[in-house]
């Protein structure tokens, strides 16, 4: 095991997969000689050449469309959206082309495509460099969506996504690139898509979260532990498919559920989890299903405004305390 950053883990995953399988290639804006806006693809261009690390024009729709076409004829493209916010420029190709190809061909084709998208706020990015658009894509059948929080999961999930035969949207939180450091195995390993992980065990409350929110959640759980309340923290890792069994198992144990995500409140992933738990685990609940989320607004640029909106440890602790005392 070695300690590397989240960004290095993502880079390593691409490097190893491109070495392992020559049908894997990267395309996107500035991914080539520049190494990517966040340096995620640094070194790949020198190693694999410009055909496999392709600098594209500013044309997200074309990037995704080209990736789909290449996937149809035997390639495994990794299309990079420079910021997740720009994914809306390629929205039609993702939700109407990639997501439906297998379905409308009656199951005859597969689209082994990965779209990497740096998401997340708290970086003074303003409206167009801070978004968390995962819910739009979790909503669309035919797509897989993942959002790792740790370097270990980032590497393993990216490898799994590249090897998966379906279109996978890989949301990497830009705030974690250099801030999250953690142990990563040297072995060739994958983290399966569709499986959550219990990052901290507890019997009193269930906390379900994903991506960068994992860290304030763990800190909040630590605080609650000192107050004698043990929180079961579940890192979803994958949003579509979502590990429902892990959620239900924990809810059966604790009977109290809090969901935390950085995405907006209305119709975020938390809403779906709350609905399904109320539907299928009603008899196990000893309190309302609660959520701590970003409010229904945009990402303002001015720091105190964004601070006001972002979920953080204090807000999570507050919610955990209210839930514990219900």
């Amino acid at each position: 095991m070695k300690e590397i950053t989240y960004l290095e883990a993502i880079r390593e995953a691409m490097l190893e997969e491109m070495e392992r399988d020559e049908s894997v290639f990267v395309l996107g804006e500035d991914v080539g000689a520049y190494g990517g806006a966040f340096q995620a693809t640094k070194g790949l261009y020198e190693k694999f050449g410009e055909a496999r690390v392709l600098d594209t024009p500013i044309a997200e729709s074309c990037i995704v469309g080209v990736a789909i076409g290449a996937a149809l004829v035997g390639y495994r493209p990794i299309a990079e959206m420079q910021f997740a916010d720009f994914i809306s420029c390629g929205f039609d190709q993702i939700v109407n082309q990639a997501a439906t190809l297998r379905y409308r061909t009656g199951g005859r084709v597969a689209v082994p495509l990965v779209i990497r998208a740096p998401s997340g706020g708290g970086v003074h990015g303003g409206l167009y460099h801070s978004q968390n658009p995962e819910a739009w894509f979790v909503h669309r059948p035919g797509l897989k969506v993942v959002a790792p929080a740790t370097p270990y999961d980032a590497k393993g999930l990216l490898k799994a996504s590249i090897r998966d035969n379906n279109p996978v949207i890989y949301f990497e939180h830009k705030g974690l690139y250099r801030r999250a450091k953690g142990p990563v195995s040297d072995e060739d390993y994958t983290v399966p898509i569709g499986k959550a992980e219990v990052k901290r065990e507890g019997t009193d409350l269930t906390l379900v979260t994903y991506s960068a929110m994992l860290f304030p959640c763990l800190a909040a759980a630590e605080t609650m532990d000192k107050e004698g309340i043990e929180v079961d923290v579940i890192d979803l890792r994958s949003l579509a498919p979502l590990d429902w069994e892990a959620v239900f198992q924990s809810v059966r144990k604790t009977s109290k559920l809090l969901i935390v995500h950085e995405d907006n409140r209305t119709c975020g992933i938390g809403a779906e989890i709350a609905a399904r738990v109320a539907e299928e685990a009603f008899d196990d609940l000893d309190g309302p299903v609660m959520r701590v989320t970003y409010p229904d607004t945009h990402h303002p640029f001015s720091p105190p405004l964004e601070e006001f909106c972002l979920p953080n440890e204090a807000k999570i602790v507050g919610a955990l305390r209210r839930l514990a005392s219900y």
């Binding site: 740096p118 008899d283 609940l285 000893d286 204090a314 807000k315 602790v317 507050g318």
Partner: protein, 417 residues
């Protein structure tokens, strides 16, 4: 005025910068916008310009040091006087309690009288284990009984049930441990009997009865001599005419019905917030079978005379023994009578046939020396052991009931009325 020179924002994901080169030394004069230091990150290197004209006062981080974005690396003494600064407040600590605060206020109001907030999991546990939530103290909001309150209560209940009744102080209460099957050996052989569905049903029924109704048993002593003599005189004829033997049971049933009409609470049952007094009389008469006790019911027993009762009792007992009872035979009883006396018992504390209010145990009739008119006489004596649900029936009523049954049995002519 002292001004800080800080590590600038160098990109969305950059959190720190490294001091590459100081372009000025402490004591140097600097113009506004003149580059003071070079700071690098793995994305870009920047030259940081002085925010104002002045003298470089102090370097806080040396070349090679890594400093977080926004933190100061040097201090600049400017020539400007401190301008009237608008009061900048530190961003307020994000309130811990904010989301759903209005909701919380609502919850903390006292719940409306008589309404209990029961969550799904608590309701499930209560039903499954027959828990009366009123018995449990709630630690949740507004005194709500939570799952965490119910679970220890169930644990505690399990452990008290293992203690024998009445509690004997010498014996320590058995600690609730998971029952481990005894490992049979030659010294301690064990025969394992599987529990039949019937036994299981009986067991559950009895447990439920005992857990729901606080049982008290009151005993009356009946002088059955007159009835014994009466029966002696008529039993042969009766048997010839009716084809069945004449037992004491029909008389006892009739006496009970007569008395139930006077003491209706013993023919009642208890629901959540009300007591139902049955104005009909379906009397259950217990029959002991090998598999266990069954209590088939004589429906509208008040409409039958002695002969009718005798036949009904006989019929039910026959059908019970030949396994021809239907579920209707066992349902709907309002009062039950059991006869441990048939096997020789003198005293018993029968368990009420839930959800009835009482059960009468009829004990053995024995010739017993008693005092009559200050002299010893030998009389046929029998105990009547009435177990009653103390929620529905109070002590005085129960005793009076029992005494009334006694008086009717001691003066059987009253049965004619």
């Amino acid at each position: 005025m002292e001004v800080k020179i800080v590590v600038p924002h160098m990109g969305e994901s950059i959190v720190e910068g490294t001091i590459l080169k100081w372009l000025k030394r402490p004591g140097d004069r600097v113009e506004r916008d003149e580059s003071v230091v070079e700071i690098g990150s793995d994305k870009i290197d920047v030259e940081v310009p002085a925010p104002a004209r002045g003298t470089l006062k102090e370097i806080l981080a040396q070349e090679g040091a890594t400093v977080a974005v926004g933190k100061a690396v040097a201090l600049l003494e400017t020539e400007d006087a401190a301008p009237a600064r608008p009061k900048t407040e530190a961003p307020p600590e994000p309130e811990a309690a904010e989301e759903g605060e209005a909701k919380e206020a609502k919850q903390e109001e006292t719940t409306p009288r008589g309404r209990r907030r029961i969550t799904p999991v608590v309701a499930k546990l209560a039903e499954r284990h027959g828990v009366d939530l009123d018995q449990i103290e709630g630690t949740g909001l507004g005194g709500r009984v939570t799952k965490k309150d119910v679970l220890p209560y169930l644990e505690g209940r399990r452990s008290t049930q293992e203690a024998p009744e009445p509690k004997r102080k010498e014996e320590a209460l058995p600690t609730p441990t998971p029952r481990r099957a005894a490992v049979p050996s030659e010294e301690e052989p064990v025969e394992v009997i599987p529990v039949t569905a019937m036994r299981k049903a009986i067991a559950e029924h009895l447990v439920r009865s005992k857990q729901t109704a606080p049982h008290v048993t009151t005993v009356a002593e009946v002088d059955m001599t007159r009835l014994v003599n009466f029966r002696e005189k008529h039993k042969a004829d009766f048997e010839r005419q009716e084809g069945i033997s004449l037992t004491y049971m029909p008389f006892i049933v009739m006496a009970c019905i007569r008395t139930l009409k006077e003491f209706p609470f013993l023919n009642g049952s208890m629901e959540e917030e009300r007591i139902l007094l049955k104005r009909y009389y379906h009397i259950g008469v217990a029959v002991a079978l090998e598999e266990g006790l069954v209590v088939p019911v004589i429906r509208h027993a008040d409409r039958l005379d002695i002969r009718g009762l005798a036949h009904a009792i006989h019929d039910l007992a026959e059908r019970a023994r030949t396994k021809k009872l239907t579920s209707d035979d066992l349902k709907g009883g309002t009062f039950s009578i059991t006869n441990p006396g048939a096997f020789g018992a003198v005293l018993s504390t029968p368990i009420i046939n839930y959800p009835q209010a009482a059960i009468l145990g009829v004990e053995a009739i024995r010739k017993t020396p008693v005092v009559r008119d200050d002299q010893i006489a030998i009389r046929h004596m029998m105990y009547l052991c009435l177990s009653y649900d103390h929620r529905i029936v109070d002590g005085a009523t129960a005793v009076q009931f029992n005494q009334r049954v006694r008086r009717i049995l001691e003066n059987p002519l009253e049965l004619i009325l």
